[in-house]
Symmetry: C2
Subunit: 340 residues, 2 copies
DNA sequence: AGACGATGTGAGATCGATCTCACATATATT
DNA sequence: AATATATGTGAGATCGATCTCACATCGTCT
């Protein structure tokens, strides 16, 4: 047997009142007689009336859903953020739609278009691309709240939550330099990605400050997956004079580097020192434990959601640009290098 | 400047036709003159008309969204599943709403109610509870497609995708027994959870088949988080005659056990053998690598989504009960025990 | 007594897209 | 020439909830 969900009309009919009166009773606005209100409540109860959020949304123009477009939910960094956003959204009576851009601009654009046609109230996006942000600008033009996370997009003036990528990377590389390293490798992500660029810039400025010449042979570019990072690391360390230390720009790549070193029989920190951006669960499982620059992952999603809901509540001030600090966590994967 | 999205009415006005004709031209049904169709297309293009899926959904009664209620997106097992579902949903022109029950029945119920009032087309749920499934039965009564994953719910007759938990657990414990272990510990999750019960049952039947008496002191119950698992493991191994081998029922608990052993100075596999249910990325990062019973994680989400979309396409056959096999992956965390 | 405000209710419009139906024309068939 | 049939188009209903407005019916105050 297929029951249809009860509508307001059904409730009104059962309570012997008009739809208007039923609506007043259920949403408590306007004048309603006590007795009438009771009748309506009882009828609603009896029919299991739940209201149709779709119809409400059509009328009000907005669905109580926020959209979230991330690079990849499987990346623990984004998973954590998604979780935090979901919790906060629920507290605010909203649901969360999740989409994964898989770091493809085209995918990001099409997802956004698809979600916009749902009259979703606001978005949290980790933009794939630096330029080409007409789709994001479009949101702003139509006054749809948008919060960027992890990355900012050029020319798009809106709220954002990021970390100090450049400073974090610099801290990491300065630490390596302080430990006597001069041939410092960089394993970085696709240059389209904001964090990758910023972290590389921190790497370079630390080298420059120490008077170490930049050397392209010390830099490997890979996609942000464990598998690609393994290959890139092997390539980087198969040169005749390989780096003595490696800085990796995210946790998946750090893990890839670890696997690569193991397969090459390279011992950490004896043969090579390693330091990664973004802490990860199992950084303390390895022997030695991995030294990392950690970012406050648990803050990012919450901050973004908080800002978004402030906007939804009508806050109309200049965009907030939140930027969290990073922290160097020294463990055991970096060794002092004396002379060459 | 705040632009409003263009409506069909706007397009019709610009093209100098009625709304009905505009709709026909854009959705290509019924008779439309060639010239008229062109005009409408051009007008739609010019206004950037995108259609309002909310209005369409109100009329058709269904929003092109599928809902997904999982235990926790942060668990890599669920993250993987969510990702696979999202990809398949997108291919089918649907979006994905994600909710986390946090293993609380009340949360699961309220989330489901909230999503149902959105007229969402179908659901994929990992049910928290065994009994008390009126909320799930309610979906079936109203003919809303439902696919259960990872767990089944008593008395709810619908599609499901699970793995052979009992068989997998038995394989693991039989392997330990074959390696000469008799004092085999079990680190398990909350008994409310289906997989936890099934895996314990496999553990017990393997012991029974080998004539080993069940011993409650060999069993520790914990929540499925790394932190709780650490504590539970420490308790379990602080007894005067602790187990010589441990079977953990999920990957987070395996990781917790690893950390606990490290902090207790217990060496694997020399002092204690370890085998976990569910493979995880970093099982091969440790030394030794961890022996596990793996489940085909990449199949589960895809299978569930495929079944769901078949239902949405109108398939009306008996519920499919898909059950994947597990595989014992022998690595280095179990050692042979000769005598006691 | 007449007027005014407070209280309670229902009819109907609205949100945007779609679909049925009726009404046109044009072409084909007997 | 008369009737079918094909082809185009628009008016209006519909989905469900909400809101405005008009219309009641009270009581209260001058």
């Amino acid at each position: 047997m297929v029951r249809k969900p009860a509508t307001l009309k059904d409730v009104a009919a059962l309570a012997n009142v008009s739809r208007a009166t039923a609506a007043r009773a259920l949403n408590s606005y306007g004048y309603v007689g006590d007795e009438t209100a009771q009748k309506v409540q009882a009828a609603a109860e009896k029919l299991g009336y739940r209201g149709n959020r779709l119809a409400q949304a059509l009328r009000s123009g907005q669905l109580p859903i926020v959209g979230c477009i991330l690079g990849d939910i499987q990346n623990p960094f984004f998973a954590r953020i998604a979780h935090d956003i979901e919790v906060l959204a629920r507290e605010c009576g909203h649901n969360l739609v999740i989409g994964s851009s898989e770091e493809e601009l085209a995918q990001e654009i099409s997802l956004l278009a698809s979600l916009r046609s749902l009259s979703i109230r606001g978005f949290i996006v980790a933009p794939t691309s630096q330029g080409n942000n007409a789709h994001l600008q479009g949101l702003i033009d139509e006054n749809v709240p948008l919060v960027l996370i992890d990355r900012v997009a050029e020319g798009v003036d809106c709220d954002s939550v990021v970390v100090d990528n450049e400073g974090g990377a610099r801290k990491a590389v300065e630490y390596l330099i302080g430990m006597g390293h001069t041939r410092i490798g960089l394993l970085q992500d696709d240059m389209r990605i904001f964090t990758s660029r910023e972290r590389r810039s921190g790497y370079r400025s630390a080298l420059a400050a120490a008077g170490i010449a930049a050397d392209d042979r010390m830099v490997a570019v890979s996609q942000s997956t464990v598998e690609h990072a393994v290959d890139a690391t092997i390539r980087l360390f198969s040169q005749k004079s390989p780096p003595t230390a490696l800085f990796t720009v995210d946790s998946l790549m750090t893990q890839g580097a670890l696997l690569a070193f193991r397969s090459m029989g390279v011992s950490i920190p004896h043969d090579v020192s390693l330091i990664g951006f973004d802490d990860f669960n199992l950084a303390t499982f390895t022997d030695p434990q991995i030294t990392v620059v950690s970012q406050p992952v648990s803050e990012i999603g919450r901050a973004a959601a908080r800002v978004l809901f402030e906007r939804l509540a009508g806050k109309d001030e200049a965009p907030q640009k939140i930027r969290f600090e990073t922290k160097l966590i020294v463990r055991g994967s970096v060794s002092r290098r004396s002379g060459v």
